[in-house]
């Protein structure tokens, strides 16, 4: 009985773990980033326009809006709930790199959907969330801004892609090379 209770995930941060909410945010946003990127990749390679392409564009935007809202909530959560410390075995440069990658990931979690949303506004295509809720057009249609925001969105997308790969590679290095059980903090059933 006592053993079972100690095994349960605490809902608040412990020195060695993330809160359940933080874990949920992490995986929900991870899923949205991967699906948003994949759909974005596919849809922009469909020539001309087809019903599938238009459908993918809508889905892509819904994913982006969801990711943006979750990222805001996540950042708020992160600011009010301390994350567990990095494992002691890490060198100074590794710590700096880890902090930099995490900071940039948060930045791009916001910047990627924001540039995408503004690009959509500039292209005169408003976003109707889930096909139900019309969202405000933040900037007026403008061909020059459309071109700039398109480039910005795509560049930041690839930037986010590179950061995600670096993040995953580092996590796997911790798991398989350092064997410091770092990954289990984000994947509780690995314990």
């Amino acid at each position: 009985m006592l053993a079972m209770q100690t095994k349960r995930q605490p809902s608040f941060a412990t020195p060695n773990g993330y809160t359940r909410i933080a874990i949920a945010f992490h995986w929900a946003i991870a899923l949205l980033i991967v699906s948003g990127f994949t759909i974005g990749w596919i849809m922009t390679r469909i020539p001309g326009f087809t019903p599938e392409k238009l459908r993918y564009f809508s889905w892509h935007k819904w994913i982006g809006v969801t990711a943006f809202a979750l990222a805001l909530a996540r950042i708020l959560w992160r600011l009010t709930h301390e994350a567990p410390p990095l494992p002691p075995g890490m060198s100074a440069w590794q710590r700096t790199a880890a902090n930099a990658v995490h900071g940039l990931l948060y930045l791009l979690m916001i910047a990627v959907p924001v540039t995408g949303y503004l690009y959509s506004s500039a292209a005169n295509v408003p976003v109707v969330y889930l096909g139900l809720i019309p969202l405000p057009r933040i900037i007026d249609p403008n061909p020059e801004w459309k071109a700039i925001l398109k480039t910005a969105h795509i560049t930041l997308d690839y930037g986010l892609g590179v950061l995600v790969l670096a993040h995953v590679a580092a996590a796997l290095k911790h798991q398989w090379i350092d064997r410091d059980k770092l990954l289990a903090r984000m994947i509780p059933f690995l314990k």
């Binding site: 020539p47 001309g48 326009f49 087809t50 019903p51 238009l54 459908r55 809508s58 292209a123 005169n124 295509v125 408003p126 976003v127 109707v128 096909g131 139900l132 249609p141 061909p143 459309k146």
Partner: protein, 189 residues
């Protein structure tokens, strides 16, 4: 061919007759006027503008029923703000601009609908398909300038606009709204 030649001659004759009679004829200011067709893609309103059209309007608020309006719209000029999309929309599945370069509206009757509102009946032809429509128009007179505003809801399927895989209206809805803002300077023709 013969019929259209005949129509041409008739129009030319009518124009000449009107010119001779000095009938008040509005001169449409293309730069200030616009015709926008808004479709809904997955519930997202998407505007496209017909950048080339000509219009002959003759309207006297004192004798509204004697007025008339005739529009010829270059469908290949439909601008969605993206070159690739514009080409596609001019293609066979949509406007088929090669076979049907223009859409037309020819009024048959104008009925006052209270205040400065009028119902303009007429024939709308897009992609060779005609429909009788009633267009609600609001007219504002500013000095010598007349402004005609209105919106006409149509079904794209009635004109075969969007065939093949686009017949399915779950992505691009059947309902399309044609919104117009026509600025005309009343001028002796």
């Amino acid at each position: 061919m013969k019929a259209s030649f005949y129509r041409y001659m008739l129009a030319a004759f009518a124009a000449a007759a009107m010119a001779a009679a000095g009938v008040a004829h509005a001169q449409v200011d293309a730069a200030k006027s616009s015709i926008v067709a808004t479709s809904k893609q997955m519930n997202v309103p998407v505007d496209g503008k017909f950048t080339k059209f000509t219009a002959q309007i003759s309207f006297d608020p004192a004798k509204p029923t004697a007025g008339s309006a005739q529009f010829t719209i270059d469908v290949a000029s439909y601008d969605l703000g993206d070159k690739e999309y514009n080409q596609q929309v001019a293609g066979k599945d949509w406007f088929d601009a090669k076979t049907y370069p223009s859409a037309t509206f020819v009024s048959s009757a104008i009925a006052p609908a209270g205040g400065n509102k009028y119902n303009v009946s007429g024939k709308l032809t897009i992609k060779g398909k005609s429909q009788n429509v009633v267009v609600p128009v609001t007219v504002t007179q500013q000095g010598a300038t007349q402004v005609f505003d209105g919106a006409l809801p149509i079904k794209r399927s009635a004109f075969d606009v969007g065939t093949g895989e686009w017949k399915d209206t779950s992505v691009v809805a059947d309902d399309v709204t044609i919104k117009f803002h026509i600025v005309a300077a009343a001028k002796k023709g």
